[in-house]
Symmetry: C2
Subunit: 130 residues, 2 copies
């Protein structure tokens, strides 16, 4: 608590019906957790999977976390990030007025992620089979 309360990182993803869909998001959470041993790291979903964002953040607040960064693990900024996430953020700020809440940009807009995706495209394209 206080000056040394751990900070929270929430990876916010869409959610899907197929459980296997979550695998890369779980790996991302595990990688972030390994590299941020002093932070709380959690996955949260917009729909179809649990926990949803309000529950994940409330859980962190309950455990004394006073500052949370939400990283949208979405490729593009569509309605989910332009409308749904701001509404969710407003709700979180109203529910937890003491919480410092930061919302990052979509992961797919990051130049490093873009470069890695282009690398993968070239690798998948590979060498002509003829």
């Amino acid at each position: 608590m206080g000056a040394h309360a751990p900070r929270g990182l929430v990876l916010f993803a869409h959610g899907a019906r197929a459980a296997a869909w979550a695998a890369p998001f779980e790996r991302l959470r595990d990688q972030a957790k390994a590299r941020l041993p002093d932070a709380e790291v959690a996955l949260a979903f917009l729909e179809l999977m649990n926990p949803r964002l309000p529950e994940a953040v409330a859980d962190m607040v309950d455990r004394g976390i006073t500052e949370v960064t939400v990283v949208p693990v979405f490729l593009g900024q569509g309605g989910h990030l332009l409308r749904d996430l701001p509404q969710l953020a407003d709700g979180l700020r109203a529910a937890h007025p003491q919480l410092k809440l930061h919302i990052a940009g979509a992961i797919g807009e990051d130049p490093g992620v873009q470069k890695a995706m282009a690398d993968y495209c070239l690798q998948a394209f590979g060498t002509p089979s003829r």
Copy 2:
């Protein structure tokens, strides 16, 4: 045509109502195009945006392309990649029996993309503001 027909790379994305959503996919297409000057590179969508995958591939075939690699620009493998894309691929193989069609794995499952996403999470998490 023949032994020197260019190959095609199709970046297959979900599509969304918000036009701004497509920006990172368009940048990815442009980056891939710049790095593959001898290939045809196109974006195609599952829904909500055009062209859809069958149209994009038919257009390449019409222009003499005999080998196409489809890279799913999706983070996780949910129903769209487990069911919709295999059905689309079956349809493409039936419509273009001479075409060599390769379907890559989801871009979000690639270790290099995973690493870049984790880097972005740490960067977004940044330094405590307290």
